[in-house]
Every structure is written in structure tokens, then in C-alpha cells.
């Protein structure tokens, strides 16, 4: 629908190299932005605003991880830890130094970038599964540091309470206000990432993924660009961490454990590696699916109780948590079998179908 090139001609390279070269695509983007910024906030209840907030926050981190894994071809299983690094750095800046959140956001991102670049150093020597294990170490080392250094964790609970974001006297404490904050940050993150991947830096990332030896001979400094990929990716992770801390009102290491790292990897794999849009799809999928399953399963139980009030199904009700997890895993497998290249590929297929519609022969 949004990429019908027919009849569109360019007379300058600049026009050909625009982010969205086709007028139709640009109008579609304006429409999507309108939906997100105007229509959705007007109609959505708090329940859906909460979901939207969580999706926005997760999407930022997923885009960052995709820059590293999908574009540069370096694996990180320590992303939960980089998120934690950003969350704690941002939280401490807000609580100890009393700085506003809009300073804490880039600061936490930068701290995470430094940490990420440091733990990315092994990528200069090792690839693939070996690198995965090396970054897994980051997960445990950072978690340990946060728990055991009281200056960071602030005591036994390892929780730093964060006040709500505020611009001057205006405190963003409703879900709606936080939704706008998160959506704006997500929009900036998307635009920055899309620009980055079409720039010389993005091309260098992809070159490293596709053929690292050839890339080096051509003039790509592997050392610099691999670390840059880790730094940019971790910056995104750090921003995600602070957004979580601001939204949930606290930074706690338990939110950012190994399961978080796996969740984010699942997001980009299901969304589509090497795709910004896919990262957003994946963040949506992984965030919403458990909630949808909960609604569906709880609904089924309620219905069963209503239909068979006499039946003793308490043991069934107890096992419903496991059923949700099984369904969650099963659906992911089904999705990957149906479309191994992720949700973004599904979206591309739809676009390609309509590209020459209705004369698609």
C-alpha cells in the first residue's frame, strides 16, 4: 500500500536518497504519527495506555539491540545488564544530584554505552556463540556489582526509588503524560536509527555482518565500528532502562535479569533481524502476547466455571499459569515456522502484494 513506485521519478540524488522517497509513504507516516499522537490518546483507556507505554519503552531497547545483532551481526546476551546500568545511572543522577529527567536520559544512556562498549571488547576476537557467552558474563558481573556495591544499590533491597519525570513544576504523573514522553523518545529513537543505518556508519555495520574480512580490506576499522555498535546499542538500552525506572517509579535489578536479555532477543528475532520497524513489531508482540494470553485464559476459566458450576476444576485453575507459558512458547515457535524472517517480512509481503495491485502478474 505504501510503496507504489509507479509513476514517481527522481531528478536529484538527494530526492532518491530520502528516508521515504515516495510521497505516498510520507503521507502514510504522517497518518501513523497522527494515530499515535492524537487519535490513540483520545480514545484509549488507562489499561491500553499502560500497554502502549510498556511497548514504547521496550521498542527503544529492541531497536538498540537490533542495531547490534541484526545490523552488525554481533550477539549480546547481556542486554538486560546494559538496561540496568542505564536505569541505575539515570536513577542515581535524578535522586542524588537532583537533576531533571531530560538530563538523566542521555546521561544514563551514555553510562550504558560506556559499559556496553567495554563488554563489547571481546567481539574483536570472538564471534557467534563464543561472543554470546562472553556477553552473558556481562549480565552476571553487572548484576553482582549492582547488588554488592551499596553506593549504587542503596542498601539491601537494591532498589532506587525514582520520582516521576517533571518538566519544571509540571510532573508527568498520569499515564497519558507518560505515554507522550515515551512516544516522543521512541520516535526520536526510530528516526535516529533509520538515519544511522542508511549512513556510512550503518553500511559499515552491515558490511561487518556480511563479510568482515572484506569490510576491513575495504577500509572499515573493525575495532572502531564493533565497539561503536555496542556503544550505540547500549545507549538505547540505557535509555530504555531510565524510561522503565521513570515509569515504574524505581530501578530494581530484578527487572533486568537474564530473562530480560532473552526477552529482548526474542523481540528482534520475532520482529525481524536487521529491521527497525521489525523491532517495534517484536516489542509489541512480546509485550502484548502474555497480556492477551492472560485475558484469553482467564476468560476461558470464567466461562468454564459459569457453564459447569458444579465441576471441581480448582486444580485446572492452578495450572493455568503454566498453560499461559506453554501457549506463549508455542506461539513463538509457530510464528517462526510460518515466517522465519519475522513479522517485518510478513509486513513486506503485504506491501509487495499491493505494490503492483491489481495488476500483479
Amino acid at each position: 500500500m505504501v510503496n507504489r513506485e509507479c509513476g514517481v521519478f527522481f531528478s536529484t540524488y538527494a530526492a532518491d536518497m530520502r528516508l521515504f522517497p515516495l510521497p505516498l509513504t510520507r503521507w502514510t507516516m504522517v497518518g501513523i504519527a497522527g494515530l499515535g499522537f492524537v487519535v490513540f490518546p483520545l480514545v484509549a483507556s488507562d489499561y491500553f495506555l499502560n500497554i502502549a507505554n510498556l511497548v514504547c519503552i521496550a521498542a527503544v531497547g529492541a531497536i538498540g539491540l537490533n542495531l547490534l545483532v541484526g545490523y552488525t551481526g554481533q550477539i549480546s546476551v547481556g542486554h538486560g545488564a546494559f538496561i540496568a546500568a542505564g536505569a541505575y545511572a539515570g536513577a542515581l543522577v535524578v535522586t542524588r544530584a537532583g537533576l531533571p529527567f531530560w538530563i538523566a536520559l542521555p546521561f544514563g544512556g551514555l553510562m550504558a554505552a560506556v559499559v556496553g562498549a567495554f563488554f563489547g571488547i571481546p567481539s574483536l576476537r570472538i564471534k557467534g556463540l563464543y561472543l554470546a557467552i562472553a556477553t552473558l558474563a556481562a549480565q552476571f558481573i553487572i548484576e553482582w556489582l549492582i547488588i554488592h556495591i551499596e553506593w549504587i544499590s542503596g542498601g539491601a533491597e537494591s532498589t532506587v526509588t525514582v520520582p516521576k519525570a517533571a518538566i519544571g513544576p509540571w510532573v508527568l504523573d498520569t499515564l497519558l503524560e507518560q505515554y507522550f514522553l515515551n512516544l516522543i523518545v521512541l520516535s526520536l529513537a526510530i528516526v535516529f536509527a533509520m538515519n544511522l543505518v542508511r549512513s556510512p556508519i550503518g553500511r559499515a555495520f552491515i558490511a561487518i555482518r556480511d563479510r568482515d574480512v572484506a569490510a576491513e580490506v575495504i577500509g572499515v576499522n573493525l575495532f572502531r565500528y564493533k565497539l561503536l555498535a555496542f556503544a550505540v546499542s547500549s545507549f538505547y538500552a540505557g535509555v530504555t532502562g531510565i524510561l522503565y525506572a521513570l515509569y515504574l517509579g524505581a530501578a530494581n535489578y530484578e527487572q533486568f535479569d537474564i530473562a530480560t536479555s532473552i526477552d529482548f532477543l526474542a523481540m528482534i528475532i520475532i520482529g525481524g533481524l536487521g529491521s527497525i520497524l521489525g523491532s517495534v513489531f517484536g516489542a509489541f508482540f512480546i509485550t502484548v502476547l502474555p497480556m492477551a494470553l492472560r485475558v484469553a485464559v482467564d476468560g476461558a476459566v470464567t466461562a468454564a466455571l459459569f457453564l459447569f458450576p458444579a465441576a471441581n476444576i480448582s486444580h485446572v485453575v492452578q495450572s493455568m499459569t503454566a498453560v499461559k507459558l506453554i501457549l506463549f512458547g508455542g506461539l513463538i515457535i509457530v510464528f517462526l515456522i510460518v515466517e522465519p524472517e519475522g513479522l517485518n517480512k510478513l509486513w513486506r509481503n503485504i506491501k509487495d502484494y499491493f505494490r503492483v495491485w491489481p495488476y500483479s502478474y
Binding site: 536529484t12 540524488y13 538527494a14 536518497m17 528516508l19 535516529f192 536509527a193 538515519n195 544511522l196 542508511r198 549512513s199 556510512p200 556508519i201 550503518g202 553500511r203 559499515a204 552491515i206 558490511a207 555482518r209 556480511d210 563479510r211 574480512v213 572484506a214 569490510a215 576491513e216 580490506v217 575495504i218 577500509g219 572499515v220 576499522n221 573493525l222 561503536l228 550505540v232 536487521g274
Partner: protein, 279 residues
């Protein structure tokens, strides 16, 4: 191809030797992998503007030599100088800015990118991208991208690949992939081109095209070319001088006719090929 190209090659362009120093000089270079002696005490001098062929049977060390010159790995011993500069210890990613471009035996294009992006990446050594200007893009980065794009488009025109510029390279046939790889090497504006079997796996027509491009690059763009090739007909036609390797040792060097007549070469390698050529 034969008569025409031979005439051009014979009348060649060994012009620019004013200072008498070779453009590329390899001195006493050796390389071993584990216990295998891939190259021993190799000497090679290539003049500016020359088309030099390196021949030899499989495993003779030809690709190793190219890899050493392009700094994929360092030599165990010896010295490599290029344009009066010692490049033996230059970091690999700097070799393109030194002025050496290359192609690979088994096409090493970036498969997930379009032809255009592959060539744009070839210009990477000429770019100085900053993280913020890249992420913000509009303004400075865009202006530079457009400038680089104009240069890349010239090469796309030159190599007659305009129709595939937005195609993913993974979708192209081998002949075109080799041509795109040549374009990517050219995009970095090298003065020396190392071509590792530029015609492997091509049909006659594609080979003729490639020979024509190599001549044009040599004469019009004034590039010095070192190429490895197995097709003896092509080697004899296009190169001014030929160096023959066998088991990591240089066994002969000279004009194509001299090398073809050299008994050591005939014994090592050309025995069958020379008969084929005369057939």
C-alpha cells in the same frame, strides 16, 4: 577477443616509470601456515601503469601473495613497499586509503546490500562519518552522501550496471557479481588494483566484457593492475608481464611469450594449457 586485445596489450602503456622505481615492490617475502610453507622469498616488482598477471597451479601461493599485499595477514619475513612507502605493517583497514583496492576469489560482496550500497561502502575510506551527523543525517551527512553518490554513479555508468543498481547483490548472477565487486574496488579510488581471478566461472561473453573493463580501467583510469587468472588465453592476451609461482616459489617472470616458453613453467603448469591454447 584475441587479435584486438593483443594489439592493445602489446603496444601497452608501460609509460610512467619516470623515477625508475617500481610502483609495487615485494622483497624476500615469506609466509607459512602451520607447517606449510605457502610462500618463500618472493620478489616482485610491478611498474606503474602495468597489467601484471600472476599464474601458477592450484596451491602455488598466488592468493596468499595478494592477501599479503592487501594486508589481510602479515608476512613472516620480508618487506612490501608501495608508491615509495613501506606498507608491511600498515593496519588492514588502512590499506584502502593507501591506494590499494582488491577483489576476492570467491566474491566477497555484502550480500544483504544493494549494488549501490556496496559501491558506496567502497568509498568508506574516503568518508569521515560522525555518529551524530549520521544519526541526524539531514544537512551535513546528506550533502556528503550526495557527493559520494555522484562519484559512485559514474562508476556504475562506467561498468554498465545501471540497470541493477538497486538490486540486492545476492540476487545477481556470478558474472555481474564479479563486475560489482570490481566496481566496489574502484569506488575507493585506488591506484593499484589486485584482482583475484576476476574471470573465474564466467562464460566467454562475460569474460570478454571483463577483459574490456580491465583494459579501460588500466588505460582510461590509469590504474595499475595485478591479477591472478587461470585462463591462459586471457593471461597471454592482456598482461604485459607475467610472474609464475609454483609451490610458493617464483619460477619465472617476463613477457607472456617468454614465460610460455620457459621450461620450468611448462613443466609446472603450462604443459597442458599451452597445448590447449595452440589448439
Amino acid at each position: 577477443m584475441n587479435d584486438r586485445t593483443r594489439g592493445r596489450a602489446g603496444g601497452g602503456c608501460m609509460t610512467d616509470q619516470a623515477d625508475g622505481r617500481p610502483f609495487l615492490k615485494v622483497e624476500g617475502v615469506s609466509k607459512s601456515f602451520g607447517g606449510v610453507r605457502a610462500l618463500s622469498e618472493i620478489e616482485l616488482e610491478v611498474n606503474r601503469g602495468e597489467i601484471r598477471a600472476i599464474i601458477g597451479p592450484n596451491g602455488a601461493g598466488k592468493t596468499t601473495l595478494i592477501n599479503l599485499i592487501s594486508r589481510v595477514y602479515p608476512p613472516d619475513r620480508g618487506r612490501i613497499t608501495f608508491a615509495g612507502r613501506d606498507i608491511t605493517r600498515v593496519p588492514t583497514h588502512r590499506i584502502a586509503s593507501v591506494g590499494i583496492g582488491r577483489t576476492f576469489q570467491n566474491v566477497a560482496l555484502f550480500r544483504g546490500m544493494t549494488v549501490l550500497d556496496n559501491l558506496m561502502l567502497g568509498r568508506h575510506p574516503l568518508m569521515r562519518p560522525g555518529i551524530f551527523s549520521s544519526g541526524i543525517y539531514w544537512g551535513l551527512a546528506q550533502k556528503k552522501e550526495v557527493e559520494h553518490r555522484a562519484r559512485v554513479e559514474w562508476i556504475i555508468d562506467f561498468l554498465e550496471i545501471t540497470h541493477i543498481r538497486k538490486t540486492l547483490v545476492a540476487a545477481l548472477p556470478l558474472g555481474l557479481q564479479k563486475r560489482v565487486e570490481l566496481g566496489r574496488a574502484l569506488a575507493g579510488e585506488p591506484t593499484l588494483l589486485l584482482l583475484d581471478e576476476p574471470m573465474a566461472g564466467m562464460n566467454v561473453e562475460e569474460k570478454e566484457d571483463m577483459v574490456r573493463f580491465i583494459f579501460d580501467i588500466n588505460e582510461e583510469l590509469d590504474k595499475t593492475i595485478v591479477l591472478i587468472e587461470h585462463d591462459m588465453g586471457v593471461v597471454m592476451d592482456i598482461s604485459q608481464r607475467v610472474s609464475a609461482l609454483d609451490f610458493g616459489v617464483k619460477i619465472a617472470e617476463g613477457t607472456p611469450d617468454e614465460v610460455r616458453a620457459n621450461p620450468a613453467v611448462i613443466e609446472a603448469y603450462l604443459g597442458t594449457a599451452a597445448q590447449q591454447a595452440s589448439r
